[in-house]
């Protein structure tokens, strides 16, 4: 009799709060997933490429979609002198762009420049 009473009490406890428990469980699971996704966002390096973050408004529209001016070299077909020459032309073109840019060459954090110059050049 006591056991039956306990079971019925347990059932009534769950029945009355089932919806609340469901919401709390959903919130906990979503919070855990949020933490996982945020840590992936930070540790994968995606955060460094995300210009939609606050503070990047002025440069957001300055991104260049390199793939649009980047001609694909066909990965099928025979290899002959014309195919090699075509590759060399495409490759040299891109190599030249990279060499001219010489990204991150400047040293704006040079202590002398940093403490004496009012507005050091931060362009590359």
């Amino acid at each position: 009799m006591d056991d039956n009473q306990m079971i019925s009490e347990k059932k009534s406890f769950l029945d009355g709060r089932r919806f609340i428990i469901l919401i709390i469980a959903a919130l906990i699971i979503s919070f855990i997933l949020l933490l996982i996704s945020l840590s992936l966002y930070n540790f994968s390096g995606a955060a460094q490429l995300d210009l939609s973050r606050p503070g990047y408004v002025e440069v957001r529209n300055k991104t260049v979609d390199s793939s649009s001016d980047f001609k694909n070299y066909p990965n099928y077909g025979a290899i002959d002198q014309a195919a090699i020459d075509e590759f060399k032309t495409l490759y040299d073109e891109q190599a030249q762009v990279i060499k001219v840019a010489d990204a991150f060459k400047n040293d704006p954090l040079n202590p002398i420049e940093l403490t004496t110059s009012p507005s050091p050049d931060t362009s590359f």
Binding site: Y56, F87, F104, L114, F124
Partner: protein, 181 residues
């Protein structure tokens, strides 16, 4: 009970001595800026903050634009040329090796930039009025991290040239009719 009390006092004493010596060590490892230099950092506080803020934004743009191009050189040119040579049953060992080195360095470039950006962000959060010496220390670390990023970029350029030399070597072999397996 007395033994326990003595032990407690000894432990506290040792903790104070050890933490004190660590504090002294940290001070000794500091950049050793003179008062004049510290004052210079304070007086140029606004300018320094502007510089690092501008640098944070301009380098992010540079990372996106140039990083994309470095990636495309690998995926749209090197990999495709290697694949085409292999599908024609020709030897591409030198080219494959050169493109693998390029890819490895590209991964290192990504990691270096991540470390650099995180250190720069921590510098941005610091107050140059109340922590001028600490900010200077962090900025020197940031500078070092940025030079590592540039080191990776220089190596990428070098590897682009190496791959190009391998293309020339392949062409010479191909012309001589020795490229066939």
């Amino acid at each position: 009970m007395k033994v326990a009390a003595r032990l407690f006092v000894i432990v506290i004493f040792m903790a104070v001595v050890i933490s004190g010596s660590m504090f002294i060590k940290v001070k000794a490892e500091s950049n050793g800026l003179t008062l004049q230099q510290i004052e210079q950092v304070r007086s140029n506080c606004v300018s320094i903050k502007n510089t690092i803020n501008q640098l944070h934004v301009s380098d992010a743009l540079l990372r996106v634009n140039m990083g994309q191009r470095y990636e495309l050189v690998s995926t749209k040119l090197m990999d495709r040329f290697n694949g085409r040579i292999i599908s024609n049953n020709l030897k591409a060992d030198g080219l494959i090796s050169a493109s693998e080195k390029y890819k490895n360095n590209l991964n290192e470039f990504r990691d270096s930039y991540k470390i650099y950006e995180e250190s720069l962000s921590s510098a941005m959060r610091m107050d140059c009025q109340s922590q001028p010496s600490e900010l200077y220390d962090v900025l020197m670390i940031v500078r070092d991290n940025r030079s590592r990023v540039y080191g990776n970029v220089k190596l990428l350029v070098k590897q682009i040239d190496q791959y190009r030399s391998e293309v020339d070597r392949f062409e010479t072999t191909f012309k001589a009719g020795q490229g066939q397996l």
